[in-house]
């Protein structure tokens, strides 16, 4: 029984069957990659997990509880954090302020009206945010305007913000899309470090095979909205069905 259990999930957009009978089980503390050619339904599946879309059929259970019908912030409060394809951060705020928001969310829940307290005198929150930045080697950027950082740093900040909430499951949507090789390798190292050091499950959607095979210890291949095969990385490489559907004959 995995931490995330997806059963018979189907989603239809008009005439297009984006997902049909997807079954997926993500084991606790694993790094599970979901790969597949364009249009395989990877993003649709992810959106069904975080509450952005509601599947037409099937069930999604996180840690024994259904996530269906819950809003994104409720699902997040259950312990699922999401990293977006293009880094979604609060670009009008400083890096430290960016970090403080998830710390407040973790402590105070979805809404709390503290309109008179000074945010900088909330020592517990400031400490936690600064500590988290230090862990991510970003302490020197604390006062910086987050919009002026490089894409790699934005990604790093976004991941740090997700981790500050101490999620049990971290979902990543093509975290290295559009990144330079050096940034990609940094991100791989960062994610490896996170999965080694923390009690966390990572599910990752990725296009880049280099990233997938250096991180994942379990891979699901999606094709045309249904899972083709789920196996360990070594077996995926050699699987003829996968080659045909995704890697191509020559790979």
């Amino acid at each position: 029984m995995g931490i995330l259990e997806v059963k018979d999930v189907g989603k239809r957009f008009g005439g297009l069957q984006a997902l049909g009978d997807v079954n997926l089980s993500v084991k606790e503390n694993s790094v599970h990659a979901i790969i597949g050619p364009n249009g395989a339904g990877k993003s649709t599946l992810l959106n069904c997990l975080v509450g952005k879309l509601i599947p037409d059929t099937g069930s999604v259970m996180f840690d024994g509880q259904s996530v269906l019908g819950r809003t994104p912030y409720e699902i997040n409060q259950m312990g699922i954090s999401r990293v977006f394809q293009t880094p979604e951060i609060f670009s009008d705020l400083t890096v430290l302020e960016n970090m403080m928001i998830p710390c407040f969310a973790k402590r105070d829940g979805a809404f709390r009206m503290h309109a008179i307290e000074n945010m900088m005198s909330e020592a517990e929150i400031v400490d936690k945010a600064e500590h988290m930045l230090e862990e991510m080697n970003m302490a020197d950027k604390a006062g910086m305007h987050s919009a002026s950082m490089s894409r790699g740093d934005k990604r790093r900040l976004e991941i740090a913000m997700c981790l500050a909430q101490e999620p049990r499951l971290l979902l990543l949507d093509e975290p290295t899309a559009g990144m330079a090789r050096a940034d990609t390798n940094n991100t791989i190292d960062l994610l490896k470090q996170i999965s080694d050091e923390r009690d966390i499950t990572i599910a990752i959607i990725e296009h880049d095979m280099h990233v997938v095979f250096s991180l994942a210890n379990r891979i699901t291949v999606l094709a045309q909205g249904t899972p083709l095969v789920e196996d360990d990385p070594e077996n995926i490489r050699g699987n003829p069905k996968v080659r045909e559907a995704y890697l191509g004959e020559t790979a």
């Binding site: 975080v50 809404f111 000074n118 929150i125």
Partner: protein
């Protein structure tokens, strides 16, 4: 001091000094001089400065922090005024009953309007608030005549109950006997300074709510509101529900508007439906943008700027222009007056529009940005002069 950091404390002190000494600062010209018409230190205008300052401070909590542009805040202004006048009619002229009620009623209306309008964002939110404000205006103007006295406007009549009215009590708005209309005039040489009770009352209220707005800006709640403006998507994927945050901001700014409306009726015991019209809602948007959206002091500056132009430019007429340019040859004098004519008197909106355009194009951060640029320029000038005297070999940039 009082939970503010050093920078905010000094800003607060500057604002306290400016408001307390406004009767001097706004009256720089002697009474009989030709420039006396540019004096703004008379009670009516000073009261308007601070009341619209309060209105704009509140509006800025919504628009400046969350980015939700409401086009219906004048509705709360009107609601505040009606509340206060009703308290005059039922109890007596002491404003202490009306003002809390004004804040409360405006808050209740803000909850209802905000709850519906905040289901949408961007332009749809603006249109929804505009629709609500126009509905309120039309209700006040015609349908709800028994409550609002329609187009005549709500005022106190002799046969009103006024159950608490004492025998010797003042028959105009007052606070425990301090009559708002009363002024103390001080003559110093050719100058005359007016100290008006009503102005000082409004100014103290403004200082209080200005302090409150600084606290909100610096609070975790303020941080969340800025996060709403910056990236709502990330906010909801960070486990935070944006809706109650925006609603709280909407209600707070509605209460500020209600307070401002209540103060208007505290200065002049009248409430009319025209106070709720969309032009009044638009005016506060202009004030906030002109002064500097999302800055602490900007909205107050914007309010002062617009009210000053409204009252001073609209008073200049052709006769005054002819006096100014009488040194020119006749034909030229007429030509100059002809050119300037559309910009003054009733045409002051044209001047304001041009100034607004210039500010938005060249100073997107409003008057506050202008101030900052001047500050920087002075600093860098000071520095380059220093380096000039120090190292003569290096050409100063």
């Amino acid at each position: 001091m009082l939970g503010l950091n050093k920078k905010d404390t000094s800003l607060m002190i500057v604002v306290i000094i400016l408001t307390m000494f406004a009767p001097f600062i706004l009256n720089p010209f002697p009474v009989d001089s030709a420039m006396a018409q540019f004096n703004a230190g008379y009670p009516d205008l000073m009261q308007r400065f601070v009341i619209f300052g309060i209105f704009a401070i509140g509006f800025n909590i919504l628009f400046g922090l969350t980015g939700y542009l409401s086009f219906g805040h004048a509705a709360f202004l009107g609601i505040g005024s009606y509340s206060v006048v009703w308290m005059y009619k039922l109890l007596d002229y002491n404003v202490i009953y009306g003002l809390p009620l004004a804040v409360l009623t405006a808050g209740i209306f803000a909850v209802a309007i905000g709850y519906v309008s905040l289901r949408r964002s961007g332009i749809y939110f603006s249109i929804l608030t505009l629709a609500f404000a126009q509905m309120s205006f039309n209700l006040a103007y015609s349908v709800l005549t028994p409550i609002t006295n329609g187009e005549t406007g709500l005022q106190v009549y002799n046969n009103d109950p006024q159950v608490l009215l004492g025998a010797n009590e003042a028959t105009s708005p007052h606070l425990f006997g301090i009559v708002m209309n009363n002024s103390f005039k001080l003559d110093v040489g050719a100058w005359q300074f007016t100290f008006n009770n009503g102005y000082y009352f409004c100014a103290l209220v403004m200082l209080l709510v200005f302090y409150l707005s600084i606290r909100i800006f610096r609070s975790p709640f303020g941080l969340m509101l800025r996060a709403v403006k910056s990236n709502q998507n990330r906010l909801s994927y960070t486990g935070l529900n944006p809706r109650p945050y925006t609603l709280a901001a909407f209600v707070i700014s509605g209460m500020y508007a209600g307070l401002a409306g209540g103060l208007m009726a505290s200065m002049d015991p009248l409430a009319g439906a025209e106070r709720m019209q969309w032009t009044a809602s638009g005016e506060v948007v202009l004030m906030t943008i002109l002064g500097g959206t999302g800055t602490l002091i900007g909205p107050v500056l914007g309010a002062g700027f617009i009210k000053y132009f409204e009252n001073i430019f609209s008073k200049i007429n052709d006769t005054i222009l002819h006096q100014w340019f009488s040194f020119l040859p006749d034909g030229l004098e007429d030509a100059v007056v002809f050119i300037i004519h559309p910009f003054i008197g009733k045409g002051w909106h044209l001047t304001l529009g041009i100034l607004f355009m210039l500010v938005v194009i060249f100073l997107p951060g409003g008057l506050v940005e202008g101030g900052q640029r001047i500050g920087k320029w002075i600093k860098s000038r000071g520095k380059s002069e220093d380096s000039d005297s120090g190292a003569t070999t290096e050409p100063a940039e």
